[in-house]
């Protein structure tokens, strides 16, 4: 699975908030339920704006809901740096 370095505790926060459904959260933050599912499963890193909106729904700060997996993030950054370098040297 293609994942993201951004981790989250969305599911835990939803259950702490009276077992809020994915659809309810999606409606409140202006996203689709599919996007909420993708975020929860770590398949999509939301925009900064969406992350703030999600955190606001739970009444906490962004860092209480979202985290950053250093090792994975560094690997992704290294890969994209290699690709950019390769593109520059070939053009």
């Amino acid at each position: 699975m293609v994942g993201t370095a951004v981790t989250n505790t969305l599911r835990a926060h939803r259950f702490a908030k009276g077992e809020m459904t994915q659809q309810e959260l999606a409606d409140r933050v202006g996203l689709t339920r599919q996007t909420i599912i993708a975020i929860e499963q770590g398949r999509y890193a939301p925009s900064l704006e969406a992350a703030f909106r999600i955190a606001r729904v739970f009444g906490v700060g962004v860092e209480a809901v979202f985290g950053y997996e250093e090792a994975r993030g560094a690997k992704t950054a290294e890969t994209s740096f290699r690709i950019r370098t390769r593109v520059k040297t070939t053009t």
């Binding site: 699975m1 993201t4 202006g30 689709t32 339920r33 599919q34 996007t35 770590g42 999509y44 969406a50």
Partner: protein, 137 residues
Amino acid sequence: MSFRSRSAAATVVAIAVIFGVYFWWSSAPGRTSGQVLGELILTIIVLTVVITAFEIVVAIVYRRRRGERMADERDALISAKSARNGYFALLAGVWYAPVMALTGAPSLAIANFTLGMIVVAEIVNFGSRVFYDLRGA
């Protein structure tokens, strides 16, 4: 699978099947340009009708089942990435069309080759949408 994914998957299948039939027809020996043009017009009409009908059915079913929003930031990202992939596929193939023209290939072959590249680009575009939706954008 989301509404958009199902719609994209159906489009891939429809394009592959309908244009597959068209290329099979047009590659038969002894075809004139007029016949192939007629088949192409028929193919485009059939494709438009099939895709429109499917989109209507899926949209109605999905709206009834859950009041799903039509698009959000993730859909926009998936759409942009997929269009980029389709563009690369088109670009890679279309460069060959002038080469064919300069080497004296028949105009029908060049036209069909260019059309084939457009079809491949569309399949890459819609196939990418399904891929990114299922595996992550």
